[in-house]
């Protein structure tokens, strides 16, 4: 790891901002442990996927330009989400391809944008964390992180250094959970079928904890597990890696019963 601290702009993601601020703090803690200084630009809201994936190009582009401008001064943009990082890395240049000046700025940001855990391992060379978690966890590979950014081994690599944690793999870990952004409310019946298959797989591993790197998928799976009365605890992988599971109840669990 280099001595010079690198400046990271944290792309919080709209779901972490609203639902799970602890994930943002966990990301900041991990980034600092990896020798980065962390700042959070106020001029960010969302990466724009709801607009982009609904065919609303104009709003998607406006939001992309806003993010590009907000993160231009940093060495890196890091997001605790493969989906948002993939949007910035792959789709911003694509959607701004016919605006030469913005395209170049989009590309420069894209090259410096990473999903949190792959950034820690691949860019910062992190090989272990100081954390403890008592439990048997199964890890769901969120689609964009996996297929757009190649996030697969990095979270497992760091999780193996968490004291007390064992990993129980699902055979279908790479199959979509049925969230899909607005898909889950546009086609609730299909989404429901997909998430039911996922929760059945989770149950079959015998794990007591479900981890993943994207809030969207986590909210979906946690919501279904709880509707089904499952005792499985659901957390963003950053909470475990940053040893912050004592700070907040699992996703969707009551703080009072903790």
């Amino acid at each position: 790891m280099s001595e010079q601290p690198v400046r990271v702009g944290l792309f919080v993601t709209c779901l972490v901002d609203l639902f799970r601020p602890t994930v943002g703090f966990a990301a900041a803690k991990l980034l600092e442990a990896a020798g980065c200084t962390v700042e959070v630009p106020r001029l960010q809201t969302c990466c724009g996927q709801p607009a982009y994936n609904s065919g609303d190009k104009e709003d998607a582009k406006a939001i992309a330009r806003q993010v590009i401008a907000a993160f231009e001064g940093f060495d890196y943009l890091v997001a605790p989400s493969g989906s948002c990082a993939g949007q910035i890395r792959l789709h911003y240049p694509e959607m701004l391809a016919d605006e030469p000046a913005w395209f170049q700025r989009a590309q420069q940001l894209a090259m410096r944008s990473y999903e949190l855990v792959s950034f820690l391992v691949d860019v910062r060379g992190m090989s272990e964390v100081e954390a403890r978690y008592e439990g048997a966890a199964t890890y769901h590979d969120s689609c964009s992180g996996l297929r757009e950014l190649g996030v697969k081994s990095q979270p497992r690599w760091l999780l193996r250094s968490v004291a007390g944690l064992s990993l129980k793999e699902m055979p279908g870990a790479e199959i979509c959970c049925g969230f899909g952004g607005t898909f889950c409310i546009k086609y609730p019946e299909i989404s429901d079928k997909m998430v039911r298959e996922k929760t059945a797989e989770i149950a079959a591993t015998g794990a007591d904890t479900l981890l993943a790197g994207d809030m969207g998928c986590l909210l979906n799976m946690a919501g279904k597990l709880q509707r089904q009365g499952s005792p499985v605890r659901v957390r963003h992988v950053a909470e475990v890696l940053a040893d912050m599971t004592g700070d907040v109840a699992p996703i969707g669990a009551s703080a009072e019963k903790r």
């Binding site: 901002d17 639902f19 969302c46 709801p50 689609c143 409310i185 546009k186 299909i190 909210l219 019963k257």
Partner: protein, 474 residues
């Protein structure tokens, strides 16, 4: 077939409550996936082959007119005929004219998705000619008067008990007390019945996996050999093919064949790969008396030069269907037309219009598995998104959805306002959900909470907490 893609949501509901269908889908669920993964792992150059395959098709599409004319010239040289058809109606008419001229009473058919697209069976029947499907799956669904639910496994939506029932109801000349317990018995029965049909047929119709410009040949791959009997025993062999099936050379065909069966059924090669070039020559011992290629456009040439051109690389292997979690949840019939799954979600709006088929490109989580297994590296999610863009531009998406989206975008484009609002929402929802940690119902979120709980926010937005932390630090 009458398109019901507009009724996609209703189709989906029916499919999800159909226990037999769900059982059938459950049986095949991971079979294709596992087989493909195993056979791909054994071929180190598979990824390089995908690149080569893509390049071959891109080159061909860039010079499509040249290769099609070259193909036609070669077919003629070998004594065959090419019928250029802009529409399904023209293609049906071309087939009917050949059948009439030869006085055909029955026509055997190998599997052809173009046959489905132009609804050739209904048309022949209406004109007094009996079409007989000879691919086992196609034969079963023809007896049941159903459309295929998968592009290479047309009867995949059925369980074997349903097939046995169908055979009992259809093969009335056989002993009603015979055993039809296992697949082998049903296979044997179909084989015996179909053998007579092959011998009696006047004309044989097949599809084509490739048209080779270099030689004027058409190629079919099958696992049953039914295509060979269909095309060699009759007075005429009619090939139904859409124009993007053309490839420049035999060598190119061999390259793409190495991708096709591996991607489709997880085989290294199909049991039968048959090259047909022209009609029977005087020295040949068998072969058709005439050789016709009915070349269908049906909107494909209009896709050239658009953001949907890449779709024309598709070789109909079905890897995208086999790996699609949406297809696997609802099966093929729910898509409401000939082509289901991700390839159908891109192609159907191209052929029928986004007004009819707009649901299909929307019904995807963009999980990207289809693109990751596509042997032709077709960017399927990207093209589905392009359809959503067209739909949005034409204001075809539901008004409430568009209003919600605009409202959200209004705030997302104004960070200060957005943070104030999200800070407030986090507090309100966090407070309301504090006791249980989640909501069983939430106003305006019925789509979510009908099937799952909504986890409650922690109670403060990250931005507000971070700002506090920064102030404390200073």
């Amino acid at each position: 077939m009458l398109a019901t893609s507009r009724a996609f949501k209703a189709n989906v509901h029916e499919a999800l409550v159909d226990e037999t269908l769900q059982k059938a889908l459950g049986i095949v669920k991971r079979g294709f996936q596992v087989k493909r993964a195993e056979v791909v792992a054994k071929l180190p150059e598979f990824e390089a082959l995908r690149e080569t395959g893509r390049a071959i098709k891109n080159h061909t599409l860039a010079h499509l007119d040249f290769y099609l004319e070259r193909f036609e010239a070669k077919v003629k040289e070998r004594g065959g005929h090419v019928h250029w058809c802009r529409t399904p109606a023209e293609a049906r008419e071309a087939v009917l004219q050949i059948c009439r001229r030869l006085g055909a009473k029955t026509v055997t058919k190998g599997k052809s998705m173009i046959g489905e697209e132009i609804e050739i069976n209904d048309y022949l029947e209406a004109n007094g000619i009996a079409p007989v499907e000879t691919d086992l799956g196609e034969y079963i669904i023809q007896l049941r008067k159903e459309p295929p639910s998968h592009i290479i496994a047309p009867a995949v939506h059925l369980v074997k008990e349903q097939v046995a029932e169908t055979f009992r109801a259809s093969h009335k000349e056989l002993d009603p007390k015979r055993s039809l317990e296992d697949a082998r018995q049903m296979c044997d029965e179909a084989r015996a019945v179909l053998r007579q049909k092959f011998l009696a047929a006047d004309v044989g119709i097949t599809g084509a996996n490739f048209l080779i410009a270099e030689t004027g040949s058409s190629v079919i791959v099958t696992n049953e050999g039914n295509g060979d009997l269909t095309q060699t025993l009759t007075k005429a062999h009619i090939v139904l093919a859409s124009l993007e099936k053309v490839v420049p050379t035999l060598e190119d065909t061999a390259t793409i064949l190495r991708l096709l069966a591996r991607s489709a059924t997880g085989q290294e090669f199909s049991a039968y790969t048959t090259f047909s070039t022209g009609p029977r020559r005087s020295e040949d011992t068998d072969g058709p008396g005439e050789y016709h290629v009915v070349l269908l456009d049906n909107g494909r040439s209009a896709m050239l030069g658009t953001e949907f051109q890449d779709m024309l690389r598709c070789i109909r292997c079905s890897a995208c269907l086999n790996h699609c979690p949406v297809y696997s949840a609802v099966g093929g019939h729910a898509y409401g037309w000939v082509y289901p799954g991700p390839m159908g979600s891109v192609l159907t709006p191209s052929l029928l219009g986004v007004e009819e088929a707009g649901n299909l490109p929307n019904a995807s989580t963009f999980c990207g598995r289809c693109e990751s297994v596509c042997p032709m590296k077709i960017p399927l999610p990207k093209m589905m998104r392009h359809w959503r863009e067209r739909e949005y531009e034409k204001k075809l998406s539901p008004a409430a959805y568009r209003t919600g989206l605009s409202l959200w975008a209004f705030f997302a484009r104004r960070p200060a306002l957005y943070h104030a609002l999200s800070g407030m929402a986090a507090r309100v929802l966090g407070w309301a959900g504090k006791r249980h940690g989640r909501f069983r119902a939430l106003p305006l979120a019925g789509g979510w909470t009908r099937v799952r709980d909504m986890p409650a926010p922690e109670g403060r937005s990250f931005q507000s907490l971070w700002a506090e932390r920064q102030r404390r630090k200073r």
